[in-house]
């Protein structure tokens, strides 16, 4: 079977890979691109462990065929930290003990980033519904929800602090 050539942008880098026509984006990211931070928990779109941002939308990579992503821009958990600086969500997950085994964590971080990108100041209920597609069996979600709320608060403070400083200058 002829393999399909894909060019896309992942975590800021232009990436090329070959994939089978019926290969999932999840398998391609893990096996062809080597981004094993994207996890398979179910393969049926029910657990969210393979969540990636596909052109800004949180997407289960297991529900997308790899040939569909030609020309798209993606962010995976590997792309959340920038220039050696953890994303506030990553920092708050660490400080708030929002992970136990850690296998669902990449998907939660990506889904939470998608939430905060569009709603920087969510309520607890909004966080719970935004993350309802991500399963965690270890934490009971409590510390995950708190970490996302903490990250939102930290990012708000940073934004406000930044603009204040800019005004003063």
């Amino acid at each position: 079977m002829t393999r399909t050539h894909i060019t896309c942008t992942i975590n800021g880098d232009e990436v090329e890979f070959l994939c089978d026509q019926d290969e999932t984006l999840l398998d391609a990211l893990r096996d062809e691109v080597g981004l094993t931070g994207v996890k398979e928990g179910c393969g049926t779109g029910d657990c969210g462990a393979c969540s990636v941002l596909l052109d800004g939308r949180v997407t289960c990579a297991c529900l997308v065929f790899a040939p569909e992503v030609d020309g798209t821009t993606m962010v995976t958990v590997e792309g959340l930290a920038e220039a050696g600086q953890l994303h506030p969500l990553q920092q708050c997950f660490l400080e708030g003990a929002a992970l136990q085994c850690g296998v669902c964590t990449p998907g939660f971080l990506v889904a939470a980033k998608a939430l905060l990108d569009r709603n920087p100041d969510p309520t607890e209920t909004e966080v719970r519904y935004a993350l309802a597609g991500n399963l965690c069996r270890c934490t009971g979600y409590d510390k995950i929800i708190r970490a996302v709320l903490d990250a939102a608060a930290d990012m708000q403070t940073a934004t406000n602090g930044g603009s204040t400083a800019a005004t003063t200058a």
Binding site: D20, R30, D31, L35, T36, G37, V38, K39, E40, G41, C42, G43, T44, D46, C47, A49, T76, V77, E78, L80, A81, L86, Q90, F93, L94, E95, G96, A97, L99, Q100, C101, G102, V103, C104, T105, P106, L109, E124, T125, V127, R128, Y129, L131, A132, G133, N134, L135, C136, R137, C138, T139, G140, Y141, D142, K143, I144, I145, R146
Partner: protein
Amino acid sequence: MTVTEETTTSGPGYKWVGTRPIRPDGLDKVTGKARFGADLALPGMLEGAVLRSPHAHARIVSIDTRAAAAMPGVKAIVTGADFPDPAELGGRPDEEMVAANIIARDKVLYEGHVVAAVAATSRKQAQRAAAAIEVEYQPLEHVLTVDEAMADDAPLLHPDLKTRGMDPAPEEPSNIASRISHERGDLDKGFAEADLVVERTFTTKPVHQGYIEPHAAVADAGENGRATIWCSSQGHFAMRTMTATVLGWEPSKLKVIPAEIGGGFGGKTVIYLEPLAVALSAKSGRPVRLVMDRDEVFRASGPTSGTKIRVKVGVTNDGQLTAAEAWMAYEAGAYPGSPVGAGGMTILAPYDIPNFSVEGFDVVVNKPKVAAYRAPGAPMAAFALESVLDELAAGIGMDPVELRLRNAAVEGTQASYGPKFPRIGFVETLEAIRDHDHYRAPLGPNQGRGVASGFWFNAGMNSSATVHVNEDGTMTVVVGTPDIGGSRASMGLMAAEEMGIDVAKIQSIVADTETVGFNDVTGGSRVTLATGAAVVEACRSIKADLRARAAKTWDCDIEEVEWVDGQAQHAGGGETPLSLQALARKSGRTGGPISATASLNARGVGAAFSTQVCDVEVDPETGEVTILRFTTAQDAGTAIHPSYVEGQMQGGVVQGIGWALNEEYIHDRDGRMENPGFLDYRIPVASDLPMIDTVVVEVPNPAHPYGVRGVGEVGIVPPLAAVANAIAAATGCRLVDLPMSPPRVLAAITGKADG
């Protein structure tokens, strides 16, 4: 080796124990770098697939692999014939069962039972080849419940299985693998003394541990008769032992390297894929990776037992429990080994009841062999008992916490399962809930509040740890118990406390089977206790060594050297203190590298208790139950890293809520699972839940250097009954069958018979 005796200190005064540093493995887990079971790829690696039985019970007439083997890219196929006959392993019966569960020979005993495995150049090709294997089955009648399996004319899974624990021993085989019993006092007298007796029969369905990471293993068998396995498990030494047994190899021929583990909850204490991967690798001469998909995880890896439990308890009007009788039957799945033993030992353990009888049965059925699941056997038992206690409290007009307080086991109480309790914290958990503002908060219409308690033994078992002092004055703590929920962090904290150095200077790692001494599994809530004790013991040896080296440097007696705040100090103050870093730097001149190992069989396990309160609202039109508020109080002994103690408590509660409200294996008439995915087997999601409030009770375990009790399991014991009791309070209906899903609750509140 000598162990320095140091008295247990309790309560505050620790510098590091009880703090909340970021866990050492955390960074890799928030950046996607951490390698879990399926993440390893080796050069030349093949991918595998497994062919599983579509029948709940069938005789295998023939297996023809010729067409599959001829397919392009197929490098190896194994069937039961490629493994030693379990009956000839010369091992114990339970080892035979493990072997028979890994791959079927004459008979398949459940849907999902492995029949063959294939290695090929891609996973898809392996799957296609597995599908091309021709198997002729002769279907047999099957049994799915304890009622069906215990019936007189039931079809038998194992023609030679005769019930153990019966007097006289039965002559005829049956599906009842064993009987357990505990008795004390005079049951008739006890019930005669009661003012109120309640008797109920409860059922629960098999539920899955539901770890998010499916089972995965990579094996690379060499030509020298050895093999290396990378897998995610709760104990790589146990994986080595069991895999060797199934293969008929010496355990030392296998090296098992632990991957990060994506949840286990007991379900990864057993092997599934490892022997298949080794056999395929040996046959193909290439590394082989086997990964289950979610469907396989549900159909073929261990859920916990479905159960039927009858409980009868008597109480006086002033709240004294006078007698209790329990009859318990647990599904074992296809091979003996349900946790009915633990169920029988735990069901009455929290209470001091003078007269009781507990009888339990381990029953084989045509479902996957059950595996441990967090406090195995205890949650279903507590569901039954704690529901009946709730009814008794209501019946005599007593507060349910007060009823429990009046009968609670305390230090010195003879536990229902035998020994006398040492210092325990059950009463303290009850008082914590009674005094919590949650317990007095107002409730609205259709809302109800339930309380329940639970007990779990916790385990000790074998642990080894090695501690190295590095040349820069940092330390490496090497353990062999996989870190599922922050144990590297708690090992580091105990080592920091012991050594008097910053926890940031300690690196805790989980090493493979050839790098650290033997360790039993991460299970039984034992790691912080037992591996922690080994780490502390190794650190104490290191301290003694460091003091000796300082004494040598100062040319004084070791008794004149104290270890204080991470440095050696001369008792007389006549010398400049020597820091760990200074001693490490000159170790080459004072006796060589500084390193110590401790291996122990942990004793002095501290029993764990939890009491929980739950508020629910029941929708009278749909029967849907919403958890409004949940508070859990648990005795942790000492919380080494409180965040991860809270995390264990919260996680256990939420698994219990799922068990109570949603989760169940649903089988069709042919014994095939109908809901083998997370859409239809619904575990709790974030929007189902409130925050889970925790009260960490600390009644130190006097037998542990830092007072640790296990914390991993007991949190899942009370929620089933706490939710049921809350529903009863909200609706006036006592639900006795799990899960309490909307149709069941609706049927109960509208007065229709339970379907």
